[in-house]
Symmetry: none
Subunit: 142 residues, 4 copies
């Protein structure tokens, strides 16, 4: 599997939203990007703020474009804020370097896409992301 | 219903994709925007080109921001190309003024969002959009 | 009077909206810019599409920045579309070169600002603009 | 009330400007945005600097797009400067994360828009905003 299918993308989103309800999180927004950083699927729950698409996308976009998930990006931003700022310049301001951006891999470890979740705390966003990806039979790197 | 719900947005997307298969169209990409032009849901079928999100969004965005669906935008562009070009400048280049951008209204005629469909001919995109919106129990203005 | 006052800007907007209701136009959006092209006041009537601020501003902005009202801009665009496109490049895409952009002058003929009206046909937008500016005791160049 | 009306927007602006005069603040600029972040009404008092529209809008825009008022945005910026910088990249540089951006809610707690006030200290801007929103019979979250 070189590229995530729409069927899998839907499974991931439904799994994440189900996990969010189970954890009693605030309304979530979830994007699934392909290996080129392009949107495959997105859903924003009722009650979520209108601007959440850009935040979800920014978490996933940086993950897939750098091959580095949100937690690693945040660590780098804490150490070298100017580096992540410069990355954002190069990427047109599309990167949100915090947890909730999660790489999606197949069973052989190949990256097949990335997920971005936003709406609750960054750590809760990431936890829900991992649960949904795992439930869809894929591997998550948060 | 002042704002389209995620449940309705999903129904619209599924209806449009079903219609696309029935019409034997090329793989479609479908976005549902809220009344402020913000993404509520999106799906891109397997086999569709990676850049289709922006085209779908551009069709729907102009529709909701101007309160004028794709066919009316195209007519205006045919008459006054410089006007639609100028509108696009004002909207940051986000408008695609062709059929496939469709306003979604409730039974009382209030706009509750907009749909953008891309992948086949613009007219086929618009036909599938109308079918999906109607199947979800809402009114379409193409 | 070198610069339009907020009191006069309010009078202009109220006069235009009153004229719009008298003419039975669609819901209007009206901006008043100062002599530097900066927003002094704006109102969008209930039922107008959400993106109307940018259209109103674009009509007024080109008027004041070029010292040329909407009708003259449109004539130029009809003759030399590439010229108005180039102007828009220079002005960051902020110009909408159609009627409804109207210069506001004091009794001695000095420009004190510009008005942008959008919502109905461009000609009706311009007619309402002139009526409101005149009712506020100022001169209009449409 | 799903969306703020022009009548309410005017009441809010007048209330804020009245409060500003009562507090003897510097000239204020006040924007009211709808739930999609689009301008509903704006006024800039005589004597205010020309660029105040963008500052007022930036305070209100971030509030409504993130569903998080100016004080909460400032707290986040103090803790994680790179996060708010990244959010701003995703939102095209339109966010001003300081007090004076205030969410407007109806009596049931639904967000119906946002207000941005600028001209004096951020805290004074926010105090005037809350006073004007409350005087218009709505709820404020600063």
């Amino acid at each position: 599997m070189a590229e995530i299918s729409l069927r899998k993308a839907r499974m991931i989103i439904r799994g994440i939203l189900a996990k969010g309800r189970e954890m009693e999180l605030k309304p979530l927004s979830v994007v699934v990007l392909d290996t080129g950083g392009h949107v495959k699927a997105f859903e924003r729950e009722d009650g979520a703020a209108p601007g959440r698409f850009a935040i979800a996308q920014g978490k996933a976009y940086g993950s897939v474009m750098l091959g580095m998930a949100g937690k690693a990006q945040m660590a780098r931003a804490e150490q070298q804020a100017y580096f992540m700022a410069a990355v954002n310049g190069a990427y047109g301001g599309q990167v949100i370097p915090v947890p909730g951006g999660v790489l999606v891999k197949d069973k052989r470890g190949n990256i097949v896409g990335a997920v971005g979740v936003t709406g609750d705390t960054s750590d809760n966003d990431a936890e829900a992301a991992v649960a949904g990806i795992t439930a869809a039979g894929l591997e998550a790197e948060a």
